[in-house]
């Protein structure tokens, strides 16, 4: 995956580029908004990671300008501003995701990977998600594993749906809270873990191997390790 990091803080930028390269991505760095815009315009990047406050051209304007040029490269906004309506403003400007500073790198990585995958995905979502023997039918609201039906509560269904949509990718707790529950605040507890463990009890219990995996220090992943 080719990444462009637009960040004016040299130390943070160096840390991010190094960290992304370590996990096998190509990461370029731009130190201000105008350079970032120029690089993003012709660079063919998969994902842009844009700091909100930048010299010469701020992050939101950068993204807005790109969108006006019909460039829809997924962009994630990093922001030190913690205002309540900050996220809304970021998304309104054309950002695809928003992460307040300070953040854990695992959180940023998980979000960036989801964004890059979304780009390559076909426009229409498949109606059936399939991970190994685990099948989720979005239209019929039915989940089966090895042909056996698994009965899920509506919220459990949506939780599994989101995990399976991003099968093979790390999904963080915050991403689950935002995308499954549509809450954008800090619950300060392990409330998501409890929901996942309930789901796991229904999906994995009684089967040979687990489908829902806990990724330490990051979140969860649905993956078929049988193959």
């Amino acid at each position: 995956m080719r990444l462009l990091i637009v960040e004016d803080d040299a130390e943070a930028a160096a840390y991010l580029t190094k960290a992304f390269r370590e996990v096998g991505h190509v990461a370029d760095h731009a130190a201000d908004g105008l350079v970032g815009y120029a690089m993003a315009e012709g660079g063919g990047y998969d994902v842009l990671v844009v700091d909100r406050m930048l010299p010469r051209l701020d992050g939101l304007s950068l993204i807005r300008s790109l969108r006006e040029q019909k460039d829809d490269t997924p962009a994630l906004i990093l922001s030190a501003l913690a205002q309540v309506d900050d996220r809304v403003k970021g998304l309104r400007a054309g950002g695809d995701d928003y992460l307040p500073k300070p953040y854990a790198f695992s959180e940023l990585l998980a979000r960036v990977e989801v964004l890059s995958r979304r780009r390559g995905a076909p426009a229409a979502e498949p109606t059936v998600y399939r991970v190994g023997e685990l099948v989720l039918d979005r239209l019929a609201h039915r989940v089966t594993r090895e042909g056996q039906e698994i009965v899920l509560q509506p919220r459990e269904f949506r939780l599994l749906e989101y995990l399976m949509k991003h099968a093979g990718q790390v999904v963080t707790r915050t991403m689950l809270l935002e995308n499954v529950w549509d809450y954008h605040f800090d619950p300060q507890t392990n409330v998501i873990d409890v929901h996942v463990s309930r789901l796991r009890a229904k999906v994995d219990k009684g089967f040979e191997h687990a489908m829902i995996h806990t990724i330490r220090g990051a979140g969860y992943m649905v993956r078929d390790i049988a193959r």
């Binding site: 309540v84 919220r155 605040f185 800090d186 619950p187 409890v194």
Partner: protein, 533 residues
């Protein structure tokens, strides 16, 4: 005194000259003219009070009133004078009429001789009217009028003329109202009355008008000076206090005179503003103190832990564990920091522009559902009693965060003491024009004395110190509630704690009529049976 004509001639002569003289000066005006300004600069110090006085609103108002009252006084006096004169003239006229009628009657009965006799007798009396009887040719037969404007006797009827009673008085003619009456056989009778009385009244009234105008002006000047001085003094006092406050006397407040006038109200409002600013400053101060104390402690701990690990860790695994612990501690600190910032921002009263109409019922039941498994794990039950479609104006994230904190608290501290009812109840219902949202547990509760205190930042009761937390959850919730214009109160759930949040409800337009009625009323509203699109 120069006559108006002289003055006009003078000014028209003087102005072109002066203009010619000033024109080149104005062209030079781009350059500062020190000589001119300096000569005036010595004076302002002495004159400062007076120009200030002229510039005050009170003075301007007083001057305006002065002008208006003067105009009124002139109008009223003018009306009185005009009316009095008219009344007097009417009286004179009717006297004359009566006399003419009487005399004509006498003439008819006793002929011209009798009339002449009567007139001769009457004209001699003190304060007599004016009488004159003439032949058809205008030769005087009897009467007490010596001179008349020519032609007076040819016009029958009423007129105002100048006359003289005797030949000595020819130089100083008096005014009179006279009436000429044609007697049979061409004789003419003139009866009239002197208008001296009326003239004298006019003079009296004019003089009164002059005096009263002068009085109004003098009194008005005094009054305006007094009022302006008073107001000026109070405003100067206010400026002085404001100056003091600016220089750091933050406790200073504007004086209230107690009259409840505009200045008092202004002072009250400014004082309220200062109080609010003071509160915010105190809040900021508290945040700084909190940061100093409550964040320094965990930071020191974090630092010590890292140092300890660096010094004594034997294996990479031990180091890794220590680092993991450090990251966790740092994350917690970040959380505290975020919460503190959020509270400070909430107390600053800036909601941002993303307040929208929210379905509170949906938020509450959603959160209850989110927390239900957690409650289950803690050995508690989470009951949700929420009326449907409760609408409020607010921010979804903030309301969610506040409620989240309350439920989190209830699950943390709401476990019953020994085998009691372990239900945490989340409820929401409409109470008048407010939506009441409550989270109730059956835990040990909070003693009455501590209930006000726990809403403050970093306050953790001794009973809760063993549990994780920072003592910010309730203060954050309180901040959110205040921002939304609601109230938060802590109640005894006997046993346990109930936190009640009251938020202003968005009035439901559907509630004013039953849902079945609109459907019924649409039918008759189209009586013509026109096709609807």
């Amino acid at each position: 005194m120069t006559s108006p004509a002289d003055a006009k001639a003078f000014s028209s002569e003087a102005s072109p000259g002066s203009r010619e003289e000033t024109a080149p000066k104005q062209e030079l005006g781009a350059l500062p003219r020190f000589d001119g300004t300096r000569s005036g600069a010595g004076r302002p110090k002495r004159q400062r009070l007076l120009p200030t006085l002229f510039r005050t609103t009170a003075f301007k108002l007083a001057a305006a009133y002065l002008v208006i009252f003067s105009i009124f006084a002139v109008l009223v006096l003018g009306y009185v004078a005009w009316n009095a004169q008219r009344l007097l003239t009417d009286q004179i006229r009717s006297t004359i009429d009566a006399e003419i009628q009487g005399l004509a009657e006498q003439q008819r009965q006793g002929g011209i001789r009798r009339l002449v006799n009567i007139i001769e007798r009457r004209s001699r009396g003190p304060g007599a009217s004016l009488y004159l009887v003439t032949t058809p040719l205008g030769e005087r037969i009897a009467g007490n009028v010596e001179a008349l404007p020519p032609g007076t006797l040819d016009r029958p009827g009423e007129s105002e003329i100048e006359y003289a009673r005797s030949s000595e008085a020819l130089d100083t003619p008096s005014r009179a109202l006279v009436r000429v009456f044609m007697l049979p056989a061409g004789f003419r009778l003139l009866v009239g009355r002197d208008l001296e009385e009326r003239e004298r009244l006019g003079i009296v009234i004019r003089r009164a008008a002059g005096w009263s105008l002068a009085l109004v002006f003098v009194l008005g000047c005094f009054a305006s000076w007094y009022v302006a001085r008073r107001v000026l003094k109070r405003i100067d006092g206010m400026s002085e206090t404001a100056h003091g406050i600016m220089e750091g006397d933050l406790k200073g407040r504007l004086a209230i005179s107690g009259t409840g006038d505009e200045l008092d109200r202004l002072a009250l409002n400014l004082n309220a503003m200062l109080d609010r600013i003071g509160e915010l400053m105190a809040g900021m101060q508290q945040v700084t103190d909190n940061i100093a104390h409550d964040l320094k402690t965990p930071l020191t701990r974090l630092r010590n832990k890292a140092e300890e690990a660096l010094r004594s860790a034997k294996s990479p695994d031990e180091l890794r564990a220590a680092l993991d612990g450090s990251i966790e501690a740092a994350d917690n600190l970040i959380r505290v920091f975020n919460a503190l910032l959020m509270i400070a921002r909430l107390e600053g009263g800036r909601a941002g522009d993303n307040m929208a109409e929210l379905d509170l019922s949906e938020i509450v039941s959603g959160l209850a559902e989110l927390y239900e498994p957690l409650a289950d794990e803690a050995g508690l039950a989470l009951a949700c009693k929420v009326e449907p479609a409760l609408k409020i104006q607010g921010n979804r994230e903030l309301i969610g965060q506040a409620l989240n904190n309350l439920i989190d608290n209830a699950l943390k501290y709401g476990a019953p003491e020994q085998g009691g009812d372990g239900t945490v109840t989340v409820a929401a219902h409409l109470q008048g024009d407010q939506v009441e949202l409550s989270v109730a547990d059956h835990g040990p509760g909070i003693p009455q004395a501590d209930r006000g205190r726990v809403l403050d930042r970093f306050v953790r009761l001794d009973a809760s110190r063993s549990k994780p937390g920072f003592g910010l959850g309730l203060s954050l919730a309180a901040g959110v509630v205040r921002l939304h214009g609601g109230q938060i109160r802590l109640e005894d759930n006997a046993p346990g704690l109930r936190v009640v949040i009251a938020l202003p409800a968005v009035p439901k337009p559907v509630e004013t009529r039953p849902p079945s009625e609109p459907a019924a009323s649409t039918a008759p509203s189209n009586p013509a049976g026109l096709p609807t699109v």
